[in-house]
Point group: C2
Chain length 138, copies 2
DNA sequence: CATTCTATTGACCTTAACGTAAAAGTCAAT
DNA sequence: ATTGACTTTTACGTTAAGGTCAATAGAATG
């Protein structure tokens, strides 16, 4: 009801494709690809695409998923699950299993990352030690 | 000097390729690929490959790197950095920069993972709520 | 020795996620 | 009306990390 309500009468800011490519450091090809994949749904003014805030948020989600190694299919699955969780009981329990699966996978990944960070720390230490030796020797 | 010393006289256990594929759930093609890439260096008895403990450990490292989305090139880089850190000062500071880069990348990834886990928790909650509603309704 | 596994090499094949190039349309500014 | 920046569609190209298949070679076991 206030000035922050999002109704049909609001003038929502629309983004052009290059605005978004610049903001996120991706190519136009990538955004068109995501549209082909049904992940974003920009309006059209003539033929040109105009992206909404919701698309922008979805893109952020896609990029996050991409960073942690999810495929487009997996990312789509999560986005859909978030948007409209299934109504039928069987589908719901199935989704619960999938969620548990994914979460376990992510926890393993987190552990792998932490172990690798530790290893990098070790490498760093070795480098610093060597550098100190060399520094002393010269 | 004790029975745990690893000297030339030790009888080290050697692994055949299928032993390793079974242990790690990967294919022989994958192991040969890793050899072509210079990551493992099995001995040969005739033409058959025989892997040592060190190779086995390297394979574990490769798989860990793979899980967190590293490319073979990146994995190789880390393995080499661990095996023989460079001796020259310039190379050392360069490597220190690369280490910092990688670590930052991993920290971002860890954050992404944690955010995604939170999102999965939310989806799970929604599913459980819906299930409870349905359960009540029937 | 014959059979039966298992391994090896070499070659081409596959998939995801875009890259890249071509040809053409849009629109504001000069 | 031309330039220049941006956009579109179409379509073939690329890369990493193996998959798959065929032909061959050892190794082991009855």
């Amino acid at each position: 009801m206030g000035s922050k309500s999002i109704g049909k009468t609001d003038v929502e800011k629309l983004y052009t494709i290059t605005e978004l490519t610049r903001e996120f450091g991706i190519s136009t090809r990538t955004l068109r690809f995501y549209e082909d994949e049904g992940l974003v749904h920009p309006e059209r003014r003539g033929r040109t695409r105009l992206f909404r805030h919701s698309d922008r948020r979805i893109i952020q989600n896609i990029l996050r998923g991409r960073r942690i190694g999810f495929t487009i299919a997996e990312i789509r699955e999560i986005i859909l699950a978030y948007k409209d969780p299934p109504g039928e009981s069987g589908q719901l329990t199935l989704m619960l299993r999938r969620v548990t699966e994914k979460r376990d996978e992510l926890k393993q990944k987190r552990k792998d990352i932490e172990d690798t960070i530790t290893e990098l720390d070790l490498i760093e230490e070795q480098c610093l030690t060597r550098l100190a030796e060399i520094g002393v020797g010269t």
